[in-house]
């Protein structure tokens, strides 16, 4: 085992992406370390999803830098890379879990093919191995392996989300971006998915950036939290600290707005 790096995996310097003044995100500075889960919370329209798209190399920012540490002594400036390098990174070392499974899955092909696609994209050409890995990941995300040849359109919402996670994890990425992964799921399914995510994150030492408007999800998964408003980060810190002792008036409002049953 190598020592865990003291250097950040992902560094964001003064990143801005504005559609109009105040719309989008601006002056974002962040560090993300290996094995860390960072939550991004804020109200609708606060720029969370824009920030996530920019961080996950899918939306070029207007200004600022995104630095990814590929190995101990090699860093990549993501938006200076060629598009083909960026795509390769996205399907090997990174992963994106979308809020709507239809955005992240190929609904027209079987679950096994969905899991195998990334493997084939990075050059795996042995059918039996692709199949075996597909089955193993189905098990790991608690999907019924007898349904490997079924299309995801026949899956329930929770199963589709788990399939999406399996599809991303199959190439052993180091960094995963999630946009409201539990949105639209009922609470019991949500709880199982969160449990699964928490286990996978610990087991695989994943770094995760998770966007959510659900503070309970953030509390359960994220070690660190940033709070966004009008496109800017208004508060950041350890999750428990931010949620239990909010400093910024907006965070205080957010925390006090949570309904408890």
């Amino acid at each position: 085992m190598t020592q865990p790096s003291k250097l950040p995996l992902l560094t964001v310097n003064n990143l801005s992406k504005l559609y109009a003044p105040g719309k989008g995100c601006q002056n974002i500075n962040l560090d993300l370390y290996a094995g860390e889960v960072l939550g991004i919370v804020g109200e609708s329209g606060s720029g969370k999803s824009t920030l996530l798209s920019s961080l996950s190399a899918r939306l070029a920012p207007d200004s600022g830098q995104l630095i990814y540490r590929e190995s101990e002594d090699n860093t990549l400036d993501i938006y200076q890379l060629s598009e083909s390098q960026r795509r390769h990174l996205l399907r090997s070392q990174w992963g994106v879990v979308h809020q709507h499974a239809a955005d992240g899955l190929r609904m027209g092909v079987s679950a096994g093919a969905n899991i195998g696609e990334r493997l084939m994209a990075v050059g795996e050409r042995n059918y039996s191995e692709i199949r075996a890995k597909g089955l193993r990941w189905m098990e790991d995300v608690e999907l019924d392996i007898s349904r490997i040849d079924d299309k995801p359109s026949t899956y329930s919402g929770g199963m589709q989300q788990r399939l999406q996670i399996a599809r991303n994890l199959v190439t052993h990425p180091r960094l995963i971006f999630m946009d409201e992964p539990t949105g639209g799921l009922d609470v019991s399914v949500q709880a199982r998915l969160l449990d699964l995510l928490r286990n996978l994150v610990t087991e695989l030492n994943l770094a995760v950036v998770i966007v959510t408007h659900d503070l309970a999800v953030a509390r359960l998964l994220a070690q660190r939290l940033v709070v966004m408003r009008h496109g800017e980060i208004v508060e950041s810190g350890l999750t428990d600290q931010v949620l239990d002792d909010p400093q910024h008036p907006y965070t205080q409002l957010l925390v006090s707005s949570v309904l408890t049953p």
Partner: protein
């Protein structure tokens, strides 16, 4: 009709010279980048899309007075489509036509590559319905173009994976995707995968024309053409237990034909020229032995 049997009132080979030049420019680019789909300003031809307008435009652009033209449809020289296209070019150019693969300098084809090996002085022109091999999984044209540019071809194997998962083998039997010159994935038009190996290092020039989609692509002579597969499910061509009932060939592509109303079937060569040549040869040999 004039004395030399060329229909009057039309330019040589129907298309005007400017259109031919435009197509030739696209062809030059296509040959320079093997497997790359070059857009061209497809012209209206006096027949519907889907009947081979792409192939005909290419033929019109490259045909010259000294050429000998052969047209095949599903391997046969005597089907409606083949006969009509052959008659069309004979009418409008006066060139010699033939049914013999070995005598032709220009062969326009739909769905087959002739059984006889083609030579350096021959050109094979394919009629193509859907030129984009990525279309089945990616409906967006901008996205498929980007995928070609970045060689982002992982999805091609997804289709083959699906075949094996559902049928136990690669069940794609025609329009089987190929990698050309180690760079571009290409749809070889709906030829049976039986013909795919013939494209590899073929001495003849291969041109592909899609009239409706307005795309031209090409495989220059002696170019690598590799059929996609998996290590543990390698590419394999169709095989038959039977042989041709006319010429007894056991190495050619066979068509299954129902011959009565009781469901009796027999198998015949799909390449009619190949079949007839073998019958002629057998007749000669049996005469010699008499």
């Amino acid at each position: 009709m004039s004395a030399n049997n060329i229909r009057q009132g039309y330019n040589f080979a129907y298309l005007d010279e400017q259109s031919k030049r435009m197509i030739r420019r696209a062809l030059l680019k296509a040959v320079a980048i093997p497997g790359f789909q070059v857009p061209f300003g497809g012209r209206e031809m006096p027949m519907p899309y889907g009947w081979g307008t792409g192939g005909m435009q290419l033929t019109a652009a490259v045909i010259g007075e000294t050429d000998t033209l052969k047209v095949i449809d599903q391997g046969a020289d005597d089907t409606t489509n083949a006969v009509s296209i052959r008659a069309f070019f004979k009418d409008l150019t006066g060139v010699k036509t033939t049914e013999r693969t070995t005598e032709a300098s220009l062969i326009q084809t739909r769905h087959r590559i002739p059984e006889f090996a083609l030579q350096e002085d021959q050109i094979l022109i394919y009629q193509v319905p859907i030129p984009e091999p990525l279309r089945f999984i990616e409906p967006s044209e901008t996205e498929t173009q980007k995928m070609h540019a970045l060689q982002d071809y992982g999805v091609m194997h997804v289709k083959l994976y699906e075949d094996i998962a559902h049928f136990g083998e690669i069940a794609t039997t025609y329009a089987y995707p190929v990698l050309v010159n180690d760079r571009y994935i290409m749809d070889p038009s709906p030829i049976p995968k039986f013909d795919n190996p013939k494209m590899h290092q073929m001495p003849a020039l291969q041109l592909f024309g899609a009239g409706r989609e307005k795309r031209i692509y090409a495989v220059p002579p002696y170019t690598d053409v590799k059929s996609l597969d998996f290590e543990d499910h390698p590419f394999a061509v169709q095989q038959w237990q039977e042989s041709c009932v006319i010429c007894q060939s056991d190495s050619s592509f066979l068509d299954e034909v129902v011959i009565d109303d009781k469901g009796t079937r027999s198998f015949i060569c799909s390449d009619t020229d190949f079949c007839r040549s073998r019958v002629e040869l057998q007749a000669e040999n049996s005469l010699e032995t008499l």
